[in-house]
C-alpha cells in the first residue's frame, strides 16, 4: 500500500479541483446557451413553443439530476449511442442548468412593467428593437444577481458526476478515502475546497443584489 502524506492528499485534491471547475464552466456555458434559446421561445408568445418550454422545465426540474445523468450515461449507451462520462455529465448538467435559468430569467422579465412593451409598440419599435433597447438592458440588470447565485448550484451539481465515474473533486475524495482510510480528514478537505469555490460566488451574488436594489 502506498502511504499518502497530507501533502499528497492535498495535491491530489487540488489537481482534481480543476476538473470540477472545468466541468462547471462547460455546464454553465451550455446551460446559458440553451436557456437563451428557451427564453427566446417563450418571448415569441407562440403557444406551442411556450408549451414546449414549460414541459422542458417541468421534466428537468421535476426529476433528480442524478437520474438525468444515469439516463444520459447508461441509458444512451444501451440505446447504441456510446457516450463518455465527460459528455454525459456536460449534457445532463446543461439540461439541469438551462431548466432552472429559464425560470429565473422568466421571473426577471416578468418584473418589468407590461406597459413598457405597449409603449415601445406605440413608439413604432419592432419586437426585436423593443427587446434589444428596452427589455434586455433592464432584464440583464435584474437577472445578474440570481444567475451568479445559481452558478453555485451548478458547481455543487458537478459533484454528482462522480457517481457515473467522472474523476473530479468528489470522486478523488472517495478514491483517496479508500486508499488512506481517513474519511474525516478527506471529506472535510473536500467540503472546504467546494466552499472556497462557492462562497465567493454567493457573496458576489448578494453584493450584486444589494447594489441593484439601492440604485433603483
Amino acid at each position: 500500500m502506498i502511504e499518502f502524506s497530507n501533502y499528497d492528499i492535498l495535491r491530489n485534491l487540488m489537481f482534481a479541483t480543476q476538473w470540477t471547475i472545468l466541468l462547471s464552466l462547460a455546464a454553465f456555458i451550455g446551460g446559458t446557451t440553451v436557456a437563451l434559446a428557451l427564453t427566446a421561445m417563450r418571448l415569441t408568445r407562440n403557444p406551442i413553443l411556450q408549451r414546449i418550454v414549460k414541459i422542458y422545465v417541468e421534466l428537468f426540474q421535476g426529476t433528480p439530476l442524478l437520474m438525468q445523468m444515469f439516463l444520459c450515461f447508461f441509458g444512451l449507451s444501451m440505446l447504441g449511442y456510446e457516450i463518455s462520462a465527460w459528455s454525459a455529465a456536460i449534457l445532463s448538467l446543461t439540461f439541469f442548468t438551462s431548466a432552472f435559468l429559464v425560470e429565473i430569467w422568466r421571473g426577471c422579465i416578468d418584473t418589468l412593467p407590461k406597459g413598457q412593451w405597449e409603449a415601445s409598440r406605440c413608439l413604432g419599435l419592432s419586437f426585436l428593437q423593443t427587446l434589444r433597447f428596452i427589455i434586455l438592458p433592464q432584464a440583464i440588470r435584474v437577472a445578474t444577481a440570481p444567475t451568479v447565485g445559481f452558478s453555485v448550484q451548478v458547481i455543487k451539481g458537478t459533484a454528482l458526476a462522480s457517481v457515473i465515474g467522472f474523476v473530479e473533486l468528489t470522486k478523488v475524495g472517495t478514491m483517496l478515502n479508500n486508499a488512506t482510510f481517513e474519511p474525516f480528514k478527506i471529506f472535510t478537505l473536500v467540503a472546504l475546497i467546494y466552499f472556497v469555490l462557492c462562497y465567493p460566488l454567493s457573496l458576489y451574488s448578494k453584493h450584486l443584489e444589494k447594489k441593484f436594489n439601492v440604485s433603483r
Partner: protein
Amino acid sequence: MLYFSDLLQYSDVFLSGLKTTVELTVLTTILGVILGTVCATVRQYGNRASQRIVSVYVELIRNTPFIVQLFFIFFGLPAIGVMLTPWQASMIALTINLGAYSTEIIRAGLASISKGQMEAAKVLGLNFRQTLTRVIFIPAFEKIYPALTSQCIIVMLGSAVISQISVQDLTYAANLVQSRNFRAFESYLVTALLYLGLSILLRFAFNALGKRLFAYRTSH
C-alpha cells in the same frame, strides 16, 4: 428497442424504493422545517454570537454539495466515534441540508413582518413567545410558503443520492433492476417518471395544505 414489460416483474422493488423515498421526504420535511424555523428565529432575533453560529451553519451547508455532506456524515463521523446506519445518516444529512435552506427562506419571511407588529404585540402585553406564535409566524409563513415547499421538493429530488450509501430508496431500486435485467434506459426512465409524478403530487399536496393552513386569511 425498448422493453418496458421486463420491468413489470420488479414492480415490488420499485414500490418499496418509492416507499423509502416518501418516508424520508415526509420525515425530513418536518424535521428540516422545524430546524429552519428555530435557526431563522435565532438569526433574526438572537444575540450577536448565536446569529454568527447560525450563519456559519447556513453558509457552510449552502456552499457545499449534498453528496459531500452525506459522505462526511456517513464515512467521516464514524472515524470520531459516531456510528450511524445508512438510513440514519441520510435522515440527518437531509434534515441538516433542508434546515440550512429553510433558515434563509423563513428568515426572509420574518424580516418582511413590519416592526410595528412586534411593538403592537408588546403593548398588548404579549410576551416574546406569544408574539412569535400568534403574531409573527403565520403571516411570515404565508408569504414564504411557495418558496419553502419548492425547496422541500428540491430536497426530495436530491435524496436520490442516498442510494450511494446503499439506502434502498427509489434510485437504489432502479440500479438494482437494471443490474438484473440490463435494461438501463427503461429502468432509469421509469424511475425518472416516478420521481416526476412524486414531485407533481407533492406540489398538489403542499398547495392543498397551504389553502387549509391559511384559509381564514383569504376568506375575508
